[in-house]
C-alpha cells in the first residue's frame, strides 16, 4: 500500500454548495442456498480451498450448467419484496471477459432480461440530520448470476500488481448471487451518503427477514458498489434537467459505515476536480477501509465490451404467475410495518425505538427476546456496551463475536442473581474476547456473586466499623446514607456481591 496518496479534496459542505450528487447503488447478495447456482457443489463458507468444486463450477471442457431452482425462488422473493415486476420469461446471458478467477472466462449472468425489474423501496434515515426522513429508492432491476472464484495475491502488496504469485480458490465460483441495482438516486443532496448507508442497511434487514442470505458484509455475502457523479447544482425552483455528470464506480465497500464514508469521499474528491475545471475520469475505484480513501482501479469500465449474448446452455426461466403469487404469500412483513409492530410489542418509546433502528439492532434484539430476555434488558445490552464496541470496531452488531443467545444467557444469570450488572459486563467482555460461552467465562474468571452470607456479613461488619459516622446516620433513620456503605462493601468484595442483599444486611445490622 505504498503508492496510495490521498487526492485533493473539497470540503463536503462546499462540494454540496456547488454540486448535486447522483448515486447508483449496486448490491451483490450471496444467497444461502445449500448448493451452487449451476451445480450441486456445497456453498458452505470457510472450507479448505478448492474442495467444493466439480467439472461445472471449474468450467472444465464439456461441462454444463443446470439452474438451481431454489435460487430462482429466492430471486423472485427478493424481487417481490422490492415491489418489482417479475419477468414472465427471461434468460441468462454470458458476460465475456478474461480473469484467472473466472473458470470459463465468462460469467453466467443476466443482461437485458432480468428476473425482476421496475421496483421501489423506502428507506428511513436513521441518525444525524434528517433522521426519520423517508426516501424512495427506485429499483431498476434484480438479476441472477454466479460468483467468481477468489484470488489471493501473495506478496508484499497484497494486490495483483507486485504480487510474487497468485492463488485461486474456486470454492466461491458458482455461488448464487443476486445483483440489485438502483436507478440514480438524486435530490438527496447532503444526505446522499446517509441515504446510501440507510439503503444498504434496509436491504440487509429485508434480506434477513426473507431468510435468503446470511448478509454478512465482512464475509462478503453482501457487497456494495457505489456509483457516484456530480452535476452542477440546480437553483431552487429550476425546471431544467441537468444531465448526470461522469460517474465513478467504487467497488466492494464492505460495511455500512464504509458505504457512507466512501460516498462522502467521492463527493469531495470529484468536487475538487470539477472546481479546478478538470473532468472526472470514468473508472472503477477501490475503497480503502484503513485510510478512508478511494484509489483508481481499472479505467473506463464502460468501454469494456462484455459481448453479452443469451446463454445457449440454459433454457429460459419462465416462472408461472401462480408460482409468483404463491411466493408473494410467503413474504414477511415489510421492514417498516415490522418495526411498528415490534415497537408496540416491546413497548419502546419512540425515541428508544429510533435508537434501536439507528443501531441496526432490531434483528439482534428480536433474537435475544426470542431467547427469553425481556425487550428492555435486550435493548440495554445491545445499545450500550455492545453498540459502543461495534462502533469502535466499525462493524455491525450482528458481526460482533457474541450471539443473541449468549446475551440472553448473561441476562438470565443476572435474573437468577448469579451476576450483577458489573459482573455481567465482564462476562460479555470475556465472550467477545473469545473465552467461550457465558457460563465458561463465569467459571474461568471466577465471576459469580458471593452468596456466602458469612463472608458478606463479615464485609458489612468491617464497613460499619471503618465508617462509624455513616453508620450513626443510618441508625438515626437516614437510610439513604446506606449507599456509601454499600459501595465500600462492594469494593471489599471486588464487585462479586449482590448489592440488594448488601443493603438488606446493612439495614438489618443497624436497626
Amino acid at each position: 500500500m505504498s503508492t496510495q496518496t490521498a487526492d485533493t479534496l473539497l470540503s463536503f459542505e462546499e462540494a454540496l454548495e456547488r454540486f448535486d450528487p447522483a448515486m447508483g447503488l449496486e448490491v451483490h447478495v450471496e444467497l444461502n442456498t445449500v448448493t451452487k447456482m449451476f451445480c450441486g457443489c456445497s456453498t458452505e463458507f470457510g472450507a479448505e480451498p478448492n474442495t467444493q468444486t466439480c467439472p461445472t463450477c471449474l468450467g472444465l471442457p464439456g461441462s454444463l450448467p443446470v439452474v438451481n431452482g431454489k435460487a430462482v425462488e429466492s430471486a423472485i422473493r427478493i424481487g417481490l419484496a422490492l415491489n418489482c415486476e417479475i419477468a414472465e420469461w427471461c434468460r441468462f446471458a454470458r458476460k465475456n471477459y478474461f480473469y484467472p478467477d473466472m473458470p470459463k472466462n465468462f460469467q453466467t449472468s443476466q443482461y437485458d432480461e432480468p428476473i425482476a425489474f421496475d421496483g421501489w423501496t423506502e428507506v428511513t434515515l436513521l441518525d444525524g440530520e434528517g433522521a426519520g426522513e423517508t426516501f424512495r429508492v427506485e429499483i431498476e432491476r434484480a438479476h441472477m448470476e454466479e460468483d467468481t472464484g477468489k484470488s489471493l495475491h501473495v506478496g508484499t502488496s497484497g494486490r495483483i500488481h507486485g504480487a510474487d504469485y497468485s492463488l485461486v480458490d474456486y470454492n466461491r465460483a458458482g455461488i448464487p448471487l443476486i445483483e440489485i441495482v438502483t436507478r440514480p438516486i438524486t435530490g438527496a443532496r447532503e444526505k446522499a451518503p446517509a441515504v446510501a448507508r440507510a439503503y444498504v442497511a434496509h436491504l440487509r434487514d429485508l434480506l434477513l427477514g426473507l431468510g435468503v442470505s446470511d448478509v454478512r458484509m465482512e464475509q462478503g455475502s453482501l457487497r456494495c458498489d457505489v456509483n457516484l457523479s456530480l452535476a452542477p447544482r440546480v437553483s431552487a425552483g429550476s425546471t431544467t434537467d441537468v444531465p448526470l455528470g461522469t460517474r465513478t464506480e467504487t467497488k466492494n465497500v464492505n460495511s455500512l459505515r464504509s458505504v457512507e464514508r466512501a460516498a462522502r469521499y467521492e463527493i469531495s474528491r470529484q468536487a475538487a476536480i470539477l472546481v479546478e475545471g478538470g473532468s472526472v475520469l470514468q473508472e472503477t475505484r477501490h475503497w480503502h477501509e484503513d485510510t478512508g480513501i478511494t484509489t483508481s482501479g481499472r479505467e473506463k469500465s464502460d468501454a469494456e465490451d462484455y459481448r453479452y449474448f443469451p446463454e445457449p446452455d440454459l433454457v429460459p426461466v419462465a416462472p408461472s404467475r401462480a408460482w409468483v403469487e404463491e411466493l408473494r404469500a410467503t413474504l414477511p412483513e415489510p421492514p417498516r410495518e415490522h418495526r411498528a409492530r415490534l415497537q408496540a410489542l416491546w413497548g419502546f418509546a419512540d425515541l428508544e425505538m429510533r435508537d434501536v433502528v439507528a443501531a441496526g439492532a432490531i434483528p439482534v434484539i428480536e433474537a435475544t427476546v426470542a431467547a427469553g430476555t425481556t425487550p428492555q434488558a435486550a435493548r440495554k445490552w445491545w445499545l450500550s456496551d455492545l453498540a459502543r464496541r461495534a462502533n469502535e470496531q466499525g462493524v455491525d452488531l450482528s458481526d460482533l463475536p457474541i450471539t443473541p443467545e449468549q446475551v440472553a444467557r448473561v441476562q438470565a444469570l443476572v435474573d437468577e442473581g448469579a451476576l450483577n450488572d458489573k459482573l455481567a459486563r465482564q462476562v460479555i467482555d470475556g465472550v467477545v474476547a473469545g473465552e467461550g460461552d457465558p457460563d465458561a467465562v463465569v467459571a474461568a474468571r471466577g465471576l459469580a456473586i458471593v452468596s456466602d452470607e458469612g463472608a458478606l456479613g463479615d464485609a458489612v461488619d468491617r464497613a460499619i466499623e471503618a465508617n462509624p459516622d455513616v453508620a450513626a446516620k443510618i441508625r438515626d433513620g437516614k437510610v439513604a446514607a446506606a449507599g456509601a456503605l454499600i459501595g465500600v462493601v462492594m469494593k471489599d468484595m471486588r464487585g462479586q456481591a449482590d448489592a440488594g442483599r448488601v443493603r438488606e444486611l446493612i439495614i438489618e445490622k443497624l436497626s
Binding site: L58, L60, G62, N96, F98, F309
Partner: protein, 509 residues
C-alpha cells in the same frame, strides 16, 4: 469365424453372434484392434487407442454374457468415440494442441451410457480442431485419410469416426454434428450418420463448439446400427438443461419396419433449394435415382420450397463462431491443458501467459472463428450480425414447418460434392464452408437428419450421400425411410456399398 468376416459384419449382426455364443467380445475387440494396427497408419482415424482398456471392458462383457446378464443388446460390440467427448481416464484433445495431454476426470453422459451398456471403447477418433472444419485437415495431429482414396478427405469434422467405420476398424462410432460433422463425413465415406433432434441426446461432456447447434449422434455402416446406437445414447439427462424430458421414439422398430422397403403412404419432400446448381452432376444423378426408387416403392414425392435456406450458411457462420468464441475462452493455461511461457518476457503476467498459450495452442481455423465470433458479438455490431442471424434462424424453422406440412420427411443430397482432395480447399475457407450447405439448416432448426450412401458418382467413383430430414422429435421417420432406401439400393447393388471400397491391408502412406 475369421477375423476379416467379423470385421465386415454390422453391429446388429455382431450382437446376434455374441448372443448366440458364436463369438466373444474379446475376440471382436481384438479383431478391431488388429485392424487398427494394420490400417490406421494409412487412414489415421484414431488419435488415441486404448487397447488395454477396451480388452478389459470386453472381458467384463463376456463375463456378463456368461452369467446370462448382458447389459444391453449391444453389450460387447466395440465402439470408437470422437475426441470431442470427455472420457474419464482417456486423453481428450478435441484435435487441438491446447488440450494435449488433458485427461478428463469425468465421462460425458453418452460415454457413461456406452459403458453402462457394455460397449468396449477402442479409442478416440481424429477430428478438425474443436470440430471446426469439413475435412479433418484442421486437426492439430494431422489429417485423416478417406478409405476410398487415401489422397482425399474423409469429411469433417468427424472424419476420424467416419473413416474408422468405413475402413472396418470399428463397427460403431460416435460423432458430433454442429453443421454437418456427422452427416457430411458419412456422405463422403459411404457410411451412415445421424444427427438426432436437438436435445434428444445429452451434450454433457461434449466439448462445445456451438452449444445451440451441437448434437451427438451415431456413425455406423447400416441404418439399423444407427438406430441401435441412438437408443443406447439417447434420452433425457438431468445434467443437460437443453435435454428433452420425453421418452425416445422406438427407433429400432422403425428401422426394422423400413427394411421391408415398402414406402406406400409416405410423403417425401424434395427441397428445391438443395440441389441443381452448385451440386456435382454425379451427386445429383445418384440423388435423383434414389428418389425414383422411393417412388417405385410407393412413396408420394412432392417438391417443397424453403426460400430462407439460402441465408442458412451466412447465419450459421455468425451464430456458430459467436458461441465458439465464448466457449473457447476457458482455454487460458490457468487450470489445465497447454501452458506456454512467453519467451523473452521477465516474470510474465497471467495475461501474457494466456496470450502466448492461445497463440501457440489454437490453429488458424480456430483463431479465424474466434475473431469472427468476437466481432459479431461486439457492442454496436450485435444486432446487425448475431441478432439478424437469429432472425434468419427463425425463418428457417418456419420454412421447415411449412415443408413438413406437405411431407413426412424432406430429402436432399447430403453434400454438394464427393470427397475432395486433401489440401484442395485449405486456402479457401468459404469453398470449404460451402460443403455444409445442405446439412446446416437442420442444425439451425434443431430437426434431425440422417445421411446414407446413395451410390458412387460416375465421374469419380466416390460415395454420394443421401440426406433425410424429419420434424423435431420424429427421429423414427429417418430410420423408417433410411432403412427402406438402404434395402432398395442394396438390392440394386447386390450388397453394401462398402463392399466396393478398396481393401486397405498393407496400405502405406
Amino acid at each position: 469365424m475369421s477375423a476379416a468376416d467379423l470385421l465386415r459384419r454390422s453391429a446388429a449382426e455382431l450382437a446376434d453372434a455374441l448372443a448366440s455364443g458364436e463369438t466373444t467380445s474379446v475376440e471382436l475387440t481384438r479383431a478391431s484392434l488388429d485392424r487398427i494396427a494394420d490400417v490406421d497408419g494409412a487412414v489415421h482415424a484414431f488419435l488415441h487407442v486404448d487397447a488395454e482398456g477396451a480388452l478389459a471392458q470386453a472381458a467384463a462383457s463376456d463375463a456378463r454374457r456368461a452369467a446370462g446378464a448382458p447389459a444391453s443388446a449391444l453389450d460387447g460390440v466395440p465402439i470408437a468415440v470422437k475426441d470431442v467427448l470427455a472420457t474419464e481416464g482417456l486423453p481428450t484433445t478435441c484435435g487441438s494442441r491446447i488440450l494435449e495431454g488433458w485427461v478428463p476426470p469425468y465421462d460425458a453422459t453418452v460415454v457413461a451410457r456406452l459403458r453402462a451398456a457394455g460397449l468396449p471403447i477402442l479409442g478416440k477418433t481424429n477430428m478438425d480442431e474443436f470440430a471446426m472444419g469439413s475435412s479433418t485437415e484442421h486437426s492439430a495431429y494431422g489429417p485423416t485419410h478417406n478409405p476410398w482414396d487415401l489422397d482425399r478427405i474423409p469429411g469433417g469434422s468427424g472424419g476420424g469416426s467416419a473413416a474408422a467405420v468405413a475402413s472396418f476398424e470399428a463397427p460403431l462410432a460416435l460423432g458430433t454434428d454442429t453443421g454437418g460433422s456427422i452427416r457430411q463425413p458419412g456422405a463422403v465415406t459411404g457410411t451412415v450418420g445421424v444427427k438426432p433432434t436437438y436435445g434428444g441426446v445429452s451434450r454433457y461432456g461434449l466439448v462445445a463448439m456451438a452449444n445451440s447447434l451441437d448434437q451427438v449422434g451415431p456413425v455406423t455402416r447400416t441404418v439399423l446400427d444407427s438406430a441401435l446406437l441412438h437408443e443406447v445414447i439417447g434420452g433425457h439427462d438431468p445434467l443437460d438443461s437443453t435435454s428433452i424430458d420425453q421418452p425416445l421414439p422406438d427407433l429400432v422398430a422403425a428401422a426394422r419396419l423400413g427394411a421391408s422397403g415398402d414406402m406406400s403412404g409416405v410423403r417425401i419432400g424434395v427441397i428445391r433449394e438443395l440441389g441443381g446448381e452448385g451440386y456435382q452432376a454425379g451427386v445429383q444423378q445418384r440423388f435423383d435415382e434414389a428418389v425414383r426408387l422411393l417412388v417405385a416403392a410407393g412413396a408420394e414425392v412432392v417438391e417443397v420450397s424453403c426460400p430462407s435456406f439460402v441465408h442458412a450458411l451466412a447465419a450459421y457462420y455468425l451464430i456458430m463462431p459467436s458461441e465458439a468464441s465464448s466457449n473457447l475462452a476457458r482455454f487460458d493455461a490457468m487450470r489445465y491443458g497447454l501452458r506456454v511461457i512467453p519467451e523473452g518476457v521477465e516474470n510474465p503476467s497471467a495475461e501474457e501467459v494466456m496470450r502466448a498459450t492461445r497463440d501457440a495452442g489454437f490453429g488458424d481455423e480456430v483463431k479465424r472463428r474466434i475473431i469472427l465470433g468476437t466481432y459479431a458479438l461486439s457492442s454496436g455490431y450485435y444486432d446487425a450480425y448475431y441478432g439478424q442471424a437469429q432472425k434468419v434462424r427463425t425463418l428457417i424453422s418456419r420454412d421447415f414447418e411449412a415443408a413438413f406440412a406437405q411431407a413426412d420427411v424432406l430429402v436432399s443430397p447430403t453434400a454438394p460434392t464427393t470427397a475432395f482432395r486433401i489440401g484442395e480447399k485449405l486456402d479457401d475457407p468459404v469453398a470449404m464452408y460451402l460443403n455444409d450447405i445442405a446439412t446446416i439448416p437442420a442444425n439451425l432448426a434443431g430437426v434431425p437428419g440422417l445421411s446414407l450412401p446413395a451410390g458412387l458418382a460416375p465421374e469419380d467413383g466416390l460415395p454420394v450421400g443421401f440426406q433425410v430430414l424429419a420434424p423435431a422429435l420424429a427421429d423414427e421417420r429417418l430410420y423408417r425411410v433410411g432403412a427402406a432406401l438402404e434395402s432398395l439400393l442394396e438390392k440394386e447393388w447386390g450388397g453394401p456399398l462398402l463392399d466396393r471400397a478398396p481393401a486397405l491391408e498393407g496400405a502405406r502412406r
